[in-house]
């Protein structure tokens, strides 16, 4: 029975999308009702499946799955279908919760219930409406003009994510992947009136597209090698052995190349270096979008996919062996990205940008963990990160809303997203403050109490325990920076005194926004406790490491828990607590960007990668398009040929007309015939002159002639 429900999980959001687009676009309450109802239905289905999955012993061997014959290919069929195995069970758990939370949050974020704005126009963020109460006029936040459209898009997005998670084959996974790519374009560019939003949407789509092309190549390679796209077929041990022992290109085996290509898809989708450039710009979209796409679901899809393909990536590798090429590449990119993004986050002043780079960095952690073969750790961090990053993003949205309230109150044009304009918000927005604090501590890896600690610690333990010291050190430094900038963020935003009038007049947001924060905060604290390693001092062993058993069961061989060592634990405690403390210490005194010593141009400008890409890729591409292809090839050469052909045809036509048609046919034959007839007619008509004597002369002449002829010839 579960397998039928799995088929149904993606359907409610899809129906919601179509219903809103086609029918209820004008009615805001109905639209969000349909969307939240659909998300709720899918959440219900997901919880049901999850709980059933928990009840199955050795779930990894008896997964819920169902597939159908879809595409006839010669004598066999390409099958598509759904499955829930342990990995996708935990993923669907967090997807369901975060999606529902974000949907409910969006109601408040887009100011449902508020009046329409004074100058609000569809395509630009709402500006506020003036209302008069008791004789006083003041501005209040106004409702988003494109309210229903937003819910339609995030419903479509949810459909894409559910499809991706429940699919049992690379084809439908890719379908869900691309749907989410489309929705991220639509949602980043939601406020299409802003040129920066439009550009960011195009940038996001283009950059992820680069990754997607390679991923599609990988999928094609898989199909051509194995003849199937279903995970169950690809991950058969015999198939994996065949894949890893067949040499392909560049000295890699088939498995290696496929793994690498698929990983490039992840590099695009999960914004790893070098395709990281789109994610910070994607903050142009509304905050629920940032939370959904770039924290909880879409970028996690990239990591989910690569975790799913772990058997393929690690084909031929077992514990203790040195990493194969693909895994080394993955580990390198992951670790590098983690450090790289964290360094940039130090110098960002926009509250959402910090979180964006933080996301990139944390995804780097997960990718690095997978690269070194820490399957369970990567999955664990994926889940916990989804919860606390979504919490942080939604919290930042709440902060921005509070600040906007203050901005409307003061009427000044303060940037509501600049952290240096905030301060002291813990008093004005307490729920936001406490939930944000929990999320930030989880991100930093605050010991024991937060989920982030457990997952990050596991990564450190695996890195150290398996002997990948470079990765270990890189990740440790990145973790320190993470804690540092997180505390920087919290200090600047919430602690201290308000630095602007807007901050003074900020106020807490509505329940539709704060309740999801609270729910996510609970998970950010509690989820870590399902993965306590057995050998952890004092705490380990009391509760079974359920996560490890459960998710580890996805693989054919349950991976061993790494042995306990004090080094990674101490390191993780030091970097987390140290980073937090240093961040608080430094930033409680700094009041403005000028005093901030970390505003180094290199960091502020993201290591100039945007400029490098612009110079190396964009400008030549633009040149090729504008000058070479458009001007030289198309206009000059091709149009030249076409114009010559046209001119020649025209010339032919004109000369035909002039020399043949006009002269011969018209004048000679047409008019000529007419003229001949006319002339002969006018000549002949003189016979009928109407004059009798003429007739008589003629007739008598003829008579005489006939008489003569008659006489001489006949007689």
């Amino acid at each position: 029975m579960e397998k039928y429900i799995i088929w149904l999980l993606p359907i409610p959001p899809l129906i919601s999308f179509f219903a809103i687009i086609l029918f209820t676009n004008k009615r805001k309450a109905v639209s969000h009702g349909i969307a939240i109802g659909a998300a709720g239905l899918s959440w219900l289905g997901s919880m049901f499946i999850f709980i059933r999955a928990l009840g199955v012993k050795e779930f990894g061997r008896q997964i819920f799955g169902s597939s159908i014959n879809w595409l006839p290919t010669g004598s066999t069929w390409l099958k598509v279908g759904v499955q829930i195995d342990p990995l996708s069970a935990v993923v669907i758990f967090f997807v369901a919760w975060t999606v529902l939370a974000i949907f409910i949050y969006s109601v408040g974020y887009h100011n449902f219930g508020q009046p329409k704005g004074d100058h609000d126009v569809a395509g630009l963020p709402p500006h506020g409406a003036t209302i008069s109460e008791h004789g006083q006029t003041h501005s209040v936040p106004s409702i988003e003009p494109m309210y229903s459209r937003f819910f339609a898009f995030i419903s479509l997005f949810a459909f894409g994510m559910y499809t991706l998670v429940v699919s049992d084959n690379l084809l439908t996974l890719f379908v869900g992947w691309e749907i989410m790519g489309l929705c991220s374009y639509l949602l980043i560019g939601f406020w299409f009136g802003k040129p920066s939003a439009r550009n960011a949407a195009v940038k996001a789509f283009m950059t992820t597209r680069i990754g997607d092309v390679f991923m599609l190549l990988g999928i094609a390679f898989v199909y051509s090698f194995t003849g199937s796209l279903s995970f169950s077929e690809i991950f058969k041990p015999a198939m994996l052995t065949a894949l890893s022992s067949t040499p392909a290109f560049f000295g890699l085996s088939a498995a290696g190349i496929i793994g690498l290509f698929l990983f490039i898809g992840t590099v695009g989708k999960s914004a790893q270096w070098p395709l990281h450039v789109w994610l910070p710009d994607a903050m142009e979209g509304p905050t629920p979008v940032s939370a959904m796409i770039h924290a909880a679901t879409m970028v996690s899809a990239g990591v989910y996919m690569i975790i799913r393909m772990f058997p393929l990536i690690s084909a031929g590798w077992t514990e203790g062996m040195p990493l194969n090429t693909t895994m080394s590449a993955i580990a390198f990119i992951g670790a590098f990205t983690a450090l790289f993004a964290a360094s940039i986050a130090l110098a960002q002043n926009d509250i959402k940008r910090v979180l964006a780079y933080s996301t990139i960095s944390q995804l780097g952690f997960m990718v690095a963990a997978l690269g070194i073969g820490a399957y369970v750790a990567a999955a664990f961090h994926l889940v916990t990160h989804a919860f606390f990053k979504a919490l942080l993003f939604l919290g930042s949205g709440s902060v921005i809303h509070g600040m906007e309230h203050g901005v409307l109150h003061t009427g000044e044009h303060t940037d509501a997203q600049d952290m240096f304009n905030m301060g002291g918000l813990r008093k004005k927005m307490p729920i936001t403050f406490w939930t944000f604090l929990i999320g930030g501590l989880a991100l930093s890896g605050f010991p024991v109490l937060t989920a982030g600690f457990w997952s990050k610690d596991e990564i450190f333990a695996e890195a150290f325990g398996k002997g990948h010291i470079v990765v270990f050190i890189t990740l440790a430094v990145a973790a320190f920076l993470t804690a540092f900038y997180t505390m920087r963020q919290i200090t600047l935003t919430f602690l201290g005194e308000p630095r602007t009038k807007a901050a003074e007049h900020a106020s807490e947001t509505t329940w539709t926004m704060t309740v999801p924060l609270i729910v996510l905060a609970i998970f950010a604290i509690g989820f870590g406790w399902v993965g306590i390693p057995a050998q952890f001092p004092f705490l380990g062993g009391h509760i079974a490491n359920w996560f490890h058993e459960f998710v580890g069961g996805t693989l054919t061989e349950l991976p061993q828990e790494v042995g306990f060592s004090w080094v990674p634990l101490i390191t993780s405690l030091v970097v987390a607590l140290g980073g937090l403390f240093c961040g608080w210490l430094v930033y409680r005194k700094i009041k403005s960007p000028q005093e901030d010593f970390l505003q180094i141009p290199v960091l502020k400008n993201k290591w100039y990668f945007d400029e490098i890409y612009d110079y190396v890729f964009i400008k030549p591409a633009t040149w090729i398009a504008e000058k070479f292809t458009s001007l030289y090839m198309d206009q000059t050469v091709i149009d030249g040929v076409l114009h010559s052909v046209a001119r020649f045809s025209l010339f032919l036509g004109v000369s035909f007309r002039t020399y043949i048609d006009k002269r011969v046919i018209n004048e000679f034959m047409g008019d000529g015939t007419g003229n001949v007839v006319k002339t002969s007619g006018s000549g002949l008509r003189k016979i009928q002159a109407g004059r009798i004597q003429y007739y008589m002369v003629a007739s008598i002449t003829v008579l005489v002639i006939f008489a003569l002829l008659f006489y001489f010839l006949v007689l």
């Binding site: 008509r685 009928q688 109407g690 004059r691 009798i692 004597q693 002369v697 008598i700």
Partner: protein
Amino acid sequence: MSVPLSWYLILAAALFSIGLFGVLSRKNAIAILLGVELMLNAVNINLVAFWRYLDPSQMGGQVFAVIVFAVAAAEVAVGLALIISVYRRRKTVVADEIDLMKW
């Protein structure tokens, strides 16, 4: 009667030719009718000559001539009436100018 028949006939032929010439070459419509009268008279001469020389007891010749008289009179009457009527309309009796019934 020692005049041979042929003399009468030649006379009639000559008169006929003169009349023909008049019909074909005169401009005035009345003059054309004059020519027609000459031709009719030539015919009459022929008829009477043949009556006298070939069989005077057969009155057909004279009767024919009488009928010709009648016809000639009728024809002249109608013809001149026409000419006068045309003259009233078109103010002309030049035959060449009465050419409305052309092509």
